[in-house]
Subunit: 378 residues, 2 copies
């Protein structure tokens, strides 16, 4: 299946194929090019895709924990020659991407935390009075590869490529949201060996959760109470307050602005929010999609320059989107971008207070973070 | 001030002194020994103790975040010769402990996240409609040193020493709970360079929080709903269910039992709970205090043996206690002991799903963790 961009101004094309074990793979080309049919077949003798794990209810916190025992043996820091995200340049050494070239490619994770069509757990577990029974970890885990060049960095990719990446984020958000088993779609990126990233090839991920993740559940509850008390939208009013205050604003675009939240938890943290109320990436219009990629790159560049003397800062970025089902009007798209690096060679570890109690202590101030992110601007 | 143990069977004594900047230091001797007066003065020209930071309300989660900018420059992995937890053996090189010898010593952290008598933050911050104003980070942060021997390990200390450590935990819990500014006392230990522990000398910590930490707030809310629905005590009924089920039970003592929680989040995790309903360490009776130290050591020994081929496993342990004010009857003492090490050389990093969404994925099963913790038992 190949489709053009329809009414969107994105000049690219999408081609849907399947891997040997039935997983879907989508090629997103920066431009419509009839010769790029991505027809190469996956010749590997793959076993059927692994079953996902199960969801167990933590009765002490009221949160679902995903138990995915099959992930223990996943690929860990392979050598560059064995990178599974490279295109298949040599048929004798097939990778996860059958074609010999691509711009952006998205496929279902081979070691997923959540997978479609899984069977239920065998064991109901604890007495029902303590909490709901176990559930299968139904959902989706995508890998999204930003370039066929193993050594590329997202900050150096072309504007056209960033536009394609934004398009893939938006389209996958729409497609995964259509699955009634999915409660929220999380588009995110883990970057840097320092935080345990097992593949250095530039890539991100998409998790489509079968439950509202704890942070989202908290946020939706806070937004609900705020709406009841004031009639307002919490996330919009936070953005407005930050733009009026100005002390923690990092950049102001035409359609998005970035600020350090006034209760930042991490040594480096910045949020990016659209000026217009939109629930998710799929709801962004053409002008917003066109601006977004450049702003994201600019924020990543500044994070890389944050600590003098080092060039690459490990980071985590995640797009918080509205729930796909109920309470959709209480959510509002925003990016959370943060780093655990508090100084060159010094990571912020989550120790007893954070890991055991959920009580964060930040060793710097949000205002200092914002000052530095402005100072290292272009 | 020196006091004996009163009606308790603990055979030791406590001596209270002050450091040069006014911070309290308490010497806990394993036995009453009249000659040990710990009278050595702190001769350092210390500046006044640092002010604590401030609490900022995170309007997106409803949680307090502690902003403690002064901690950025705290002591980080000093060489063994400069260890601030050693006794002062050479007056020319004074440490945090003025006396030349001690058994267990507890003193207020020089770089605290929470401190008593702090002034309020200068800036109220955000529009009041978004959340409560900033508060000073009032509270207490203790360091508790388990041995004067820099190279000692808690698993090798004598039974008498463990009894003294339990006594210090219990007494400090009682003393800090008496401060009306304190909402919960957290006794914990961060162990291992792999998780960023800045001092290798065997020690633990106590945080007396001025707010109910997020995990406790969740637990109390869950316990409240459970009591309303069933009339039962959630934590006691979880213990009972685990002991009846048996699959995840690691050890059964006379007064305490240990089990892996059925929604364990970490690659190694075990909880230890008293058989009797007690709110906190201060409420343990003599028989319970006498048994506790040995069981704690036994659990730490098994955690150290968890992964074949390595001798020391980094861990975090924390005592969850009842709130000091309201809802005290909903809390129940339990220890959470866990490690981020999922295999030799492989840490579990908290990446996008955990850090950004609060959604934990465990790559092993609680039953496998329990099997291993039983297998490596004495």
């Amino acid at each position: 299946m190949q489709s053009e961009s329809g009414g969107s101004s994105w000049p690219g094309q999408v081609t849907l194929r399947r891997l040997a074990d039935g997983r879907e793979i989508r090629y997103y080309d920066d431009r419509v090019t009839e010769s790029r049919v991505h027809a190469a077949a996956d010749t590997r003798p793959l076993p059927e895709p692994p079953h996902a794990g199960e969801l167990r209810f933590d009765v002490l916190t009221g949160e679902w924990v995903t138990v995915a025992g099959h992930r223990m043996n996943r690929t860990f820091l392979p050598s560059a020659a064995d990178c599974p995200l490279d295109p298949t340049r040599d048929p004798a050494r097939p990778t996860e991407v059958p074609d010999g070239d691509y711009d952006v490619v998205v496929f279902a994770n081979r070691f997923p935390s959540y997978a479609p069509d899984v069977v239920g757990p065998a064991d109901a577990g604890h007495p029902e009075v303590l909490g709901p029974p176990d559930r299968p970890a139904v959902g989706h885990c995508d890998v999204i590869v930003f370039s066929s060049d193993h050594a590329a960095s997202i900050v150096d990719l072309s504007a056209a490529r960033l536009r394609t990446i934004v398009e893939a984020w938006a389209q996958r958000t729409a497609e995964l949201s259509a699955d009634p088993a999915v409660a929220e779609v999380f588009v995110f990126e883990n970057h840097g060996e320092e935080i345990g990233v097992t593949l250095s090839h530039p890539h991100g991920q998409v998790y489509a959760y079968p439950f509202l993740p704890p942070r989202s559940a908290q946020l939706i509850e806070r937004a609900r109470r705020y709406r009841q008390a004031t009639g307002g939208n919490l996330l919009r009013d936070v953005l407005t307050a930050e733009l009026e205050d100005g002390r923690r604003v990092v950049l102001r675009g035409e359609h998005f602005s970035a600020y350090v939240p006034r209760a930042a938890r991490w040594p480096v943290e910045v949020h990016l929010a659209p000026h217009r109320d939109v629930p998710d990436l799929a709801a962004l219009d053409d002008a917003e999609r066109a601006e977004l990629g450049g702003l994201y790159q600019e924020l990543l560049r500044r994070v890389n320059r944050f600590h003098p003397g080092i060039e690459h800062v490990p980071y985590i970025s995640g797009w918080h989107q509205a729930p796909t089902g109920g309470d959709r009007e209480l959510g509002r798209l925003h990016l959370q971008l943060f780093s655990l690096l508090r100084a060159p060679g010094k990571l912020k570890y989550l120790a007893g207070s954070e890991s055991g109690m959920g009580a964060w202590v930040n060793d710097t101030t949000p205002e200092r973070i914002a000052d530095r992110l402005r100072e290292v601007g272009a």
